[in-house]
């Protein structure tokens, strides 16, 4: 597909809480914006979007309140940005919102109750928009060839462990790929000229929200993941999920203390790689937002 003949793509953007300014994945948002500029993607934020409730909200939330939270975002998207797919960059936002769409379309009772709740916020739903992850948009709407086209600085010589994790992979999956060994992140890395290493823990859980409540167990999960990335020969880890990124990056110090390891491997977002490969600066790629700095990428970005 050549850029000249492609209509500008427009989506209803659901950035999610963690990507806001000063929050834990603020660097994800900055790099996504840079990446989208190159790819001529227009992302319009859903006005006044709210938290999806995340997976961990289940204990207190209950089913209908959780559905209502997602339904409010969907109703706002439908009302303000009609006809556009909703695109989330966060794995949990995507999962929660897409799950809500499925449950509401599947059950008249849940839909009726949700509409009644939405009325309290002055909203209603007619047709629920499609709910997609940014990685899906890249792979399905663009494809690897089109994503390779704007590459100005190829990432040759860099070795990445593509860490897919859980929620961009299960339960919905991307581009019909297998749950046990999805390839999309590896193919994306290769489209940028870098090497995607083979390693064992590509779809292993980092502990998710339980890194807060059960840190010892989560750290043991993260240790397995990082160790396996090193064993595969990776220089860096790359992921599509904000919680995977934070957990796998931030606890390396604590794991070193506990297990006597010497982990110090940068953990990046795919959008940061793409921004650098597309000729963006370190600032455009928000590389300063990584606690373990990715020096190879920084020097390439210049």
């Amino acid at each position: 597909m050549s850029n000249e003949y492609r209509a500008k793509r427009e989506y209803a953007f659901y950035p999610g809480c963690s990507s806001q300014k000063g929050a834990s994945s603020a660097n994800y948002l900055v790099s996504v914006q840079s990446m989208c500029k190159t790819l001529d993607i227009k992302m319009t934020e859903i006005p006044d979007w709210n938290c999806c409730g995340a997976s961990i909200g289940y204990g207190e939330g209950g089913e209908l309140p959780r559905l209502a939270l997602s339904a409010r975002n969907l109703a706002l998207a439908e009302k303000n940005l009609p006809g556009r797919d909703v695109v989330a960059t966060c794995a949990a936002c995507w999962l929660g919102t897409r799950e809500a769409k499925e449950r509401l379309e599947h059950s008249d009772v849940l839909m009726r109750d949700t509409q009644e709740a939405l009325k309290e916020a002055g909203l209603n739903i007619q047709v629920i928009p499609e709910v997609r992850h940014m990685a899906e948009v890249l792979v399905e709407d663009f494809g690897y060839e089109a994503l390779a086209q704007p590459v100005k600085k190829n990432l040759a010589g860099m070795k990445f462990a593509g860490y897919v994790g859980c929620q961009t992979n299960r339960p919905f999956g991307i581009d019909g790929e297998s749950y046990e060994n999805p390839k999309y992140l590896d193919k994306l890395v290769e489209a940028l000229g870098a090497e995607a290493v083979r390693y064992d823990q590509k779809v292993t859980c980092c502990g998710g929200a339980l890194a807060f409540s059960e840190p010892e167990r989560a750290h043991a999960q993260i240790k397995d993941i990082v160790e396996s990335a090193y064993d595969g020969g990776a220089d860096m880890i790359v992921t599509p999920c904000p919680l995977c990124q934070a957990n796998v990056e931030l606890y390396q110090g604590a794991i070193n203390k506990k297990y006597g390891t010497k982990f110090n491997i940068p953990v990046l977002y795919y959008s940061q790689l793409m921004t650098v490969a597309y000729g963006g600066s370190a600032k455009d790629a928000a590389l300063g937002g990584n606690v373990i700095r990715a020096k190879q990428l920084e020097s390439l970005a210049g």
Binding site: E60, A117, A218
Partner: protein
């Protein structure tokens, strides 16, 4: 025993499976389990040590009417929402969601272990998110560290935990991914009153439907 727990125990006497089917989210799936154990083998391995009972065992216990054992175990709260069990179950049971449903039910009844850290975190997270419509990460972390598992303020525990986490916090501040001033405000939705009214209505509707089933 909480009032709700006593009511439900009496109402569903000798039929705990029916109670789970009618009162717990996704509970209607429990009877479909064929006890293969793929779910147990799919859980993140470092969380196995926290189990009293893996998922398929909980399902059999529900069918066997072991009400107290199921509703007081911390096992469901070991779920990391990784969805391995969900995609691998040969009977296509939404196991992740069933775990959440049973955990939520035990939490509502007040039978879930009081000192279960994930149960506590789930409540802190939800309350944090719905107060302004968006998660305030600073308040979330402070809320978690400075409260004991019963939700009471605990200064000593908070300071100890804050010191443990000091290096991580400083790294994040330096990287622009943690803003201490969020403690005094932070990101929020405009229509907070609409969100609050919507959630209040949603909870009422859900409680009414469950009460009708139990009637």
């Amino acid at each position: 025993m909480s009032d709700l727990n006593a009511t439900m125990a009496t109402r569903y006497k000798n039929n705990f499976l029916k109670e789970i089917e009618e009162q717990a989210e996704m509970g209607e799936w429990v009877k479909m389990c064929m006890q293969c154990g793929v779910c147990a083998g799919s859980c993140p391995p470092n969380f196995h040590s926290g189990w009293e009972h893996p998922p398929q065992e909980l399902f059999m216990m529900i069918r066997a009417g072991k009400r107290e054992e199921v509703l007081t175990t911390p096992s469901m709260f070991m779920c990391t929402s990784c969805y391995n069990c969900y995609v691998r179950c040969p009977r296509k049971l939404p196991i992740t969601h069933i775990m959440h449903g049973i955990a939520n039910y035990a939490h509502r009844l007040g039978t879930a272990p009081k000192n279960q850290p994930t149960r506590a975190f789930s409540k802190i997270f939800w309350d944090n998110a719905v107060t302004t419509g968006r998660v305030n990460e600073v308040k979330l972390t402070v809320g978690l560290y400075f409260k004991d598992s019963d939700g009471k303020f605990n200064l000593g525990a908070g300071i100890k935990k804050a010191l443990e986490m000091k290096d991580i916090a400083l790294g994040l501040v330096k990287a622009g991914r943690l803003n201490p001033f969020e403690l005094f405000g932070g990101h929020k939705c405009k229509d907070q009153s609409g969100i609050h009214a919507m959630l209040k209505k949603a909870r009422e509707l859900e409680e009414t439907r469950k009460a009708i089933k139990a009637a």
